[in-house]
């Protein structure tokens, strides 16, 4: 198989969209994608995440690569490779800025050394790695033939030789007032060690480090440059070799390697992001995807954006299940406020979006639909002085959505009409629901209107629940059942887990 890209089995020229999909804000997908890409700014990964797919074969191709990347060894190898490539770019950028001859050439040599290292290690690691994906198998072939090419071999050998020569150089400097001298080093003893030994006995644990950070990154002043020139005069052959190397290898980074280095970060970024959640016991799965079947389900799913904000807090992430079996198309969510209804709706949208990128999704098992568009309508906290204007805006927006939606679209409605009168809300909701059913949209509808839940065979009811013992406590569980608002009293002690049996459980002997 010919290697084209680690993101696709086909040789397609993808256009990179930098534009945020419309559903991003309501579904908090902007938070999710920002979190995923924030530590990888230099790869400019967002366009990859802004391009959902409806091509099942490409999604499978990505699943295979992602599964390979889940192997810790392969992930570690790719990370090591990426870190080196970062250095290569940093050094080459530095070379452009520097002024002094041997300083510039010195950094050029470093860049080449790191690049050779990166590619050689990657080739070796891939040839030993257990890989199954079409993507990695094809890429491995490419890299192996590249490292065996004459051009690469000579680059690597010469770079190592020149470096070895320069590393063996050792010189001494004597500084007097307004004057300095340079000579070869002649084995004089280390004075710092003597001073340290004298005061050794007072050591009290960590104290401030007074060493000045010597690494300034770029720049060498004319005194240092002068010293380097003197050193070059002390060791002429070693510097002649450097001149030769610089002349012979101006563009050494391979284009396919360069693109791979960026594209593979799509997988790294996603897997690194979900690793934190996995450590907390949350699960992810590779969903079955379909453009035909309207049966969808997910077990133990959760809102990835919320889970991210709950990281490093004591609060647990609550997982929820859902399923829709034809002819069911619409999940109507009711129940107490702050019970996780909106989160549930977002989760439904996020799962479908992430599935369309070819990523594993929150949940233990999932089947999801490959949509053409996701539409969302979330009630915004608005200026209540202009209720009539707001209702009108809402209706205009919903009308627009329904006009653009196709039977392949997904719609997420959240607490619309919450600020109109009940009578109006019921009337409008029923009207719109009828249109949604007519369009046969896959839909999640969060509402306070119980009647919507049992409108037809297409709707199912799910309810946010509370602890039966203490209605003040939300479980954030959304379960499939008819709407009810049961509340149970509970003794205070039990609530505080202070009954005899509860305390015995809590105090560990």
């Amino acid at each position: 198989m010919t290697y084209y890209s680690i993101l696709s089995y086909k040789n397609v020229v993808r256009e990179e969209k930098a534009e945020l999909p419309a559903c991003f804000a309501d579904l908090n997908l902007n938070q999710v994608i920002n979190a995923i890409t924030s530590k990888k700014e230099e790869y400019y990964l967002k366009p990859f995440f802004y391009a959902p797919l409806r091509d099942i074969e490409t999604i499978r191709y990505r699943h295979e690569v992602m599964r390979d990347m889940e192997g810790e060894m392969l992930m570690a190898h790719i990370r090591a490779f990426a870190e080196k490539m970062v250095l290569v770019r940093r050094y080459l950028a530095l070379v452009e800025k520097l002024d002094f001859n041997y300083h510039k050439k010195g950094w050029f040599l470093e860049a080449a050394l790191v690049y050779c290292d990166a590619v050689t290690d990657l080739a070796r690691d891939l040839s030993l790695a257990e890989i199954k994906s079409r993507g990695f198998l094809a890429f491995r072939e490419y890299v192996l033939s590249y490292v065996r090419s004459r051009g690469f071999e000579s680059l690597a050998a010469e770079a190592r030789k020149v470096k070895a020569g320069l590393s063996s150089v050792k010189y001494s400097v004597v500084i007097q007032l307004g004057k300095f001298s340079v000579k070869k080093f002649e084995g004089e003893t280390d004075y710092s060690v003597e001073v340290e030994t004298t005061f050794e006995k007072f050591k009290q644990g960590a104290v401030k480090d007074y060493r000045l950070d010597l690494y300034k990154g770029s720049g060498m002043n004319h005194i240092e440059a002068q010293i380097l020139d003197f050193v070059a005069r002390l060791y002429p052959e070693k510097f002649a070799a450097l001149d030769h190397f610089y002349g012979g290898h101006s563009q050494f980074v391979d284009e396919t390697i360069r693109i791979f280095d960026r594209e593979i970060q799509f997988y790294v970024a996603y897997l690194e992001h979900i690793a934190d959640f996995k450590r907390q016991g949350l699960v992810f799965c590779y969903p079955q995807v379909s453009v035909a079947s309207r049966d969808v389900y997910d077990h133990d799913g959760f809102d990835l954006a919320l889970a991210y904000t709950l990281l490093n807090t004591e609060k647990p992430v609550i997982c929820n299940d859902f399923y829709l079996k034809v002819p069911e198309r619409i999940i109507v969510v009711t129940g107490p406020n702050q019970g996780g209804k909106t989160t549930f709706a977002r989760t439904f949208g996020q799962l479908h979006y992430l599935a369309s990128l070819g990523c594993p999704v929150p949940g233990s098992e999932a089947q999801l639909f490959l949509f053409d568009q996701i539409f969302t309508h979330f009630e915004k906290e608005e200026d209540i002085r202009n209720l009539r204007g707001k209702l009108q805006d809402d209706l205009v927006r919903i009308h627009g959505i329904l006009a653009r939606a196709t039977p392949d679209s997904i719609l997420i409605m959240n607490e619309i009409f919450a600020s109109t009168t009940l009578k109006d809300a019921i009337f409008l909701s029923k009207e719109i629901m009828a249109r949604v059913m007519e369009l046969n949209l896959l839909c999640v509808w969060v509402t306070f209107i119980d009647e919507l839940a049992a409108l037809s065979e297409k709707t199912i009811s799910m309810v946010s629940t509370v602890l039966p013992e203490n209605p003040a406590l939300r479980t954030f569980k959304i379960v499939r059942k008819p709407a009810d608002g049961l509340a149970y009293a509970l003794s205070l002690a039990e609530k505080h887990r202070l009954t005899y049996a509860q305390i015995k459980e809590r105090i560990k002997l």
């Binding site: 002649e186 004089e188 005061f199």
Partner: protein, 499 residues
């Protein structure tokens, strides 16, 4: 060189985490009064007292180590206070002469470190002199080790080596260092060197050898170059400046540690010197392992009450060895709370290595001390009073471990007696099952009587003593719970009415 006067084998850690219930302990046991008495207005002494008293030792042996040192301090108070002045002197010298390492550059770091070291050497000589003169008068393991260390490490020879270095490090002739080529051919591994031939003309000798030498003299008006050369010199002396500055810091830390570790004992001296004139006794407690159940004392008094009243207060004698549940009932304002506080204070003081306010005292150490007191005010509007009490109790249960000591003061009484007693009963039973020693002050008859009827071997019942005429002695004596609390008495007294 380590001070090791607080722990046998480690430094005192001023940042050691205090127990999560430190605020409750401080409030319920009125610890601020104790810390103020130890500090006598000195902020640092206050902080140290606060830190040490709240971070209990839980090994009897570690407690005895401090007790012995404290006994030495009580015996040689003047000498100990003189030693304590040495780190204080260091702080004053630094302030007076602006000593300290403030420079960002190796050259500046080096010269200020040298000045600092010269000042420290003077103080260390003084410490050595005290050790030479008084070491014999101390008996504790801790002080003996401390003085022996001073005498061994700070010999006259050592002082002369140090002073020689301080002279050489001024680099009057020039600086010699080696370097290598690092990444990008930038100089790395700058190491200060001592020329193979020392002597006044070492620079000349180094440069006149046979191998080639390239020299460069700066144009007198090349300011930029002069600065660059200065920077280069700084790189050369970077490591040695670091070594010298760190040495200065280490000695500074040693003096800081000395101040920190002595501060606790100075606080104890201050405290003892206030109790003596009142005629209040102090005793070194016998601490036994946390797995045992011991609590026996005579003349145990509430030290905070004594310090506040500035006079001798009532002490109690109780033998509760082998008991795990102590229920204290009886008259309001009869000394129940004072008694409970004296139990908590003595436990904390014992486990910090202090003397305790009693004629004699022995107890098992506890792995944690917890207090749950009825709070007068409900600070949060959200939760009712019982809800608030229960939520505090729940936090305690989160943190409590077997062999802890739990002090409950009128807890769970914010509801009717039957319910309150039931909640309290369940909590107490579960704590006892968790091998936690419980002292419970209550006026809830249902609760106290219920436990009394069980005839438990491991329980003891105490009562605030009431004289036949209704007057109070503020003494707590052994006795079973009585049906009436004495609120009525109080009512009559306050309202000036007769029964």
């Amino acid at each position: 060189m380590k001070v090791f006067l607080m722990h046998r084998e480690r430094d005192s850690d001023p940042k050691q985490k205090l127990p999560p219930n430190k605020a409750a302990l401080t409030q319920d046991l009125e610890l601020i009064t104790l810390f103020n008495a130890m500090a006598l207005g000195d902020k640092f002494l206050f902080e140290v007292a606060n830190q040490v008293v709240l971070s209990s030792l839980d090994e009897p042996d570690a407690i005895r180590y401090r007790q012995d040192i404290l006994k030495d301090c009580l015996k040689n108070a003047a000498i100990v206070r003189e030693i304590y002045q040495i780190p204080i002197q260091s702080i004053q010298n630094k302030q007076k002469h602006w000593l300290g390492i403030f420079s960002q550059y190796p050259g500046g770091i080096l010269s200020s470190a040298i000045s600092l070291l010269q000042m420290f050497v003077g103080l260390l000589r003084k410490l050595k002199q005290i050790a030479d003169e008084h070491a014999d008068e101390f008996e504790s393991e801790g002080f003996k080790r401390f003085f022996a260390m001073i005498q061994q490490e700070l010999s006259d020879d050592y002082f002369s080596v140090v002073e020689n270095h301080l002279k050489e490090l001024r680099f009057r002739k020039g600086v010699l260092f080696s370097a290598e080529l690092g990444n990008g051919n930038e100089g790395v591994n700058y190491i200060l060197r001592k020329a193979n031939h020392r002597g006044r003309n070492w620079v000349k000798r180094v440069l006149s050898r046979k191998s080639p030498v390239y020299s460069f003299t700066l144009h007198p008006r090349d300011d930029h170059g002069a600065r660059a050369l200065g920077e280069l010199k700084d790189r050369g002396i970077n490591l040695v400046a670091n070594a010298v500055a760190q040495s200065a810091d280490h000695i500074d830390s040693f003096l800081t540690a000395l101040r920190l570790e002595l501060a606790f004992y100075i606080g104890c001296l201050n405290l003892a010197e206030q109790l003596a004139p009142m005629g209040e006794p102090i005793a070194f407690p016998a601490a036994v392992d946390s797995s045992e159940r011991r609590h026996a004392f005579t003349g145990l008094y509430d030290i905070c009450l004594a310090l506040t009243m500035k006079k001798k207060v009532v002490g109690n004698d109780v033998n509760a060895d082998g008991r795990e549940l102590v229920i204290i009932t009886g008259a309001n304002q009869g000394g129940k709370s004072t008694f409970l506080r004296s139990i908590g204070l003595a436990q904390l003081m014992m486990q910090s290595g202090m003397f305790v306010p009693a004629e004699s005292f022995s107890a098992n150490v506890c792995t944690g001390l917890f207090t749950h007191y009825k709070r007068e005010e409900d600070t949060s509007m959200k939760s009712g009073k019982l809800d608030e009490e229960l939520s505090r109790m729940s936090v305690i249960v989160d943190n409590i471990t077997p062999n802890s000591l739990m002090l409950l003061n009128e807890s769970f009484a914010a509801t009717n007696e039957r319910e309150g007693s039931e909640i309290a009963r369940q909590i107490t039973c579960a704590l006892l099952d968790g091998r936690i020693k419980v002292f419970f002050v209550t006026h809830q008859y249902e609760l106290a009587h219920g436990f009394h009827d069980k005839k438990m071997d491991n329980a003891i019942f105490l009562r605030a003593e009431r004289k036949a005429d209704g007057g109070r002695t503020f003494k707590v004596i052994e006795g079973k719970p009585l049906q009436t609390s004495y609120g009525k008495d109080l009512y009559h007294k306050v309202f000036g009415t007769d029964e």
